[in-house]
């Protein structure tokens, strides 16, 4: 049984098309990052998966059942993009409410103290939720997700509005979660660092369609170019030939060669007997790749 399977999934709001035929299969225990610029359809897709929205057409199955199947609710955990809590309640009381939904007494009794410590929010447990900052609310929401132990965890932009130190704690907590527990993780994000650290597979959406699907390395090799830079004492580039590669730039004494394969670029440099210094090889930058995909 797959964790998630969609077939030609479409969703429109009047004439506005949010999802335009998404066909996906996500196996159990996969770690997936869902990427796309604002309005690409990420949140709509996650809302359909969670049963918070209904598709206009197409099929969606979560753990072999319809998205809003009650039996699956304890197996799926969701952190929405925006989550506010009842203002008069304390954080620990909110935890109690969320944990009350657990069927297994073992899971129910599991302390959220360790998760709170991992995320650095232990001191917030006795605080009223109305006194929390935006970032603290986000961390509490994430802690709620991590204290439950479902088969699928779905996080919609888990680190939005969180400072750098907070993000680092979240990455570590999620990495620990991935390391220690089995389960499918699907998260949407705009943070490339987050994607590279947590995801094994990346699904890129643009205008409601899947435009790229693969591992981070596959996406990089599919869409990105490796960059080799070096310097020479010569102020011209007339004697050099890099026409076999995608792109070549020369700025004063610095040469930049772009190509799919960095080994071939290096081979070409050596074959031309170039007297170089400061040779550097750069991996394709995910952010640049996505900007390229989305601007198409």
């Amino acid at each position: 049984m797959n964790a998630l399977k969609t077939n030609n999934l479409k969703k429109s709001y009047g004439s506005n098309i949010a999802l335009n035929g998404i066909t996906l299969t996500i196996e159990r225990n996969e770690k997936i990052a869902l990427l796309g610029c604002n309005g690409a359809g990420k949140s709509t897709l996650l809302s359909i998966v969670m049963g918070l929205k209904t598709q206009s057409s197409g099929a969606c199955e979560v753990l072999g059942a319809k998205p809003n199947d009650f039996k699956n609710k304890s197996k799926i955990n969701f952190l929405p993009q925006s989550l506010n809590f009842p203002e008069e309640l304390k954080v620990k009381e909110v935890f109690k409410i969320v944990k009350s939904g657990e069927n297994s007494s073992e899971t129910k009794n599991k302390s959220f103290q360790s998760i709170a410590e991992d995320l650095g929010i232990s001191e917030l447990l006795d605080k009223k939720t109305s006194k929390l900052s935006g970032g603290e609310k986000r961390k509490v929401g994430l802690a709620l997700s991590l204290t439950r132990e479902p088969e699928i965890t779905i996080l919609d932009e888990p680190t939005a509005n969180i400072d750098l130190l907070g993000k680092e704690k979240i990455y570590k907590a999620l990495e620990k979660q991935i390391r220690d527990k089995q389960g499918t993780l699907i998260f949407s994000s705009h943070e490339m660092k987050e994607v590279e650290r947590l995801a094994k597979r990346v699904i890129v959406l643009n205008k409601g369609e899947v435009v790229a699907d693969g591992s981070v390395d596959e996406i990089k090799s599919m869409f990105g170019l490796k960059k080799v830079t070096f310097k020479t004492s010569s102020s011209t580039s007339d004697e050099l030939n890099f026409s076999a590669f995608k792109k070549y730039e020369f700025h004063r004494h610095e040469h930049i060669v772009y190509g799919k394969n960095s080994d071939q670029i290096l081979k070409s440099i050596f074959e031309q007997n170039i007297d170089f210094r400061d040779l550097k090889v750069f991996e394709p930058d995910l952010e640049e790749i996505f900007i390229k995909i989305w601007s198409k």
Partner: protein
Amino acid sequence: MNKIFTHTWWMCLELFRQPSYFVATVAFPSLFYVIFAIPESKTIESSNTLLASFSCFAVFGVLFLQFGVGISQERSTSWYHYLRTLPLKTFHLTIARFITAYIFASLSVSFLVILSILFTKTELDFRNWLLFVFSLATLGLPFCFMGLCLGYFSNLKTALPIGNLIYLPLSFAGGLWKPPELLSENLNKISLYLPTRQYGEALWAIALNQSVPQRALYTLLFYLLFFAVVTYIGAKRDYTKRYQ
């Protein structure tokens, strides 16, 4: 059962910690009672009747106005949508809301009862007290559904003004502030068809140790079914609008 208990617990906690809500809900009917009812409670009969009137007013206020406005506010929050993703049924939350509303209605009535015992000639035997409390709760059920209708057919901004537009006139026209015989002739005729009037009729009869008029029971049953159907339509409409 545990889920219903947990959700009732946090809903009550949330409201108890809001002094403005708690005081307004509990104190408003008591304040009216002290100003308008206690000076008029000169005999056992008038004391019992006025206690019944203001108890109906208190229960109506909590079950319809506070409950309805609360649902309308709650529907607009991300927390409400988040709860839908947890292993919970709508049933659990709805029952928890009903119980919470009844807890506050009971508190509101308790204060009235204490005031009536201390400062008026109210006299009911044990059986009638039980019947009085039981009838207040069960016959007040149409107002719960009326509150659900308000919650589903209004939004955050409109719930309170719309609620007040219904709550205050219905209380007055139902004879809960002053006896129906003091209403104008035309208003008195209309009043007979109102749920608040028939709620009052039933409770006045119990307070005076008389049998409850059948018309009151049938009218309240009609309103219960009517508002249950409208609630169903409202909930479906809300679901379609929000989740489809």
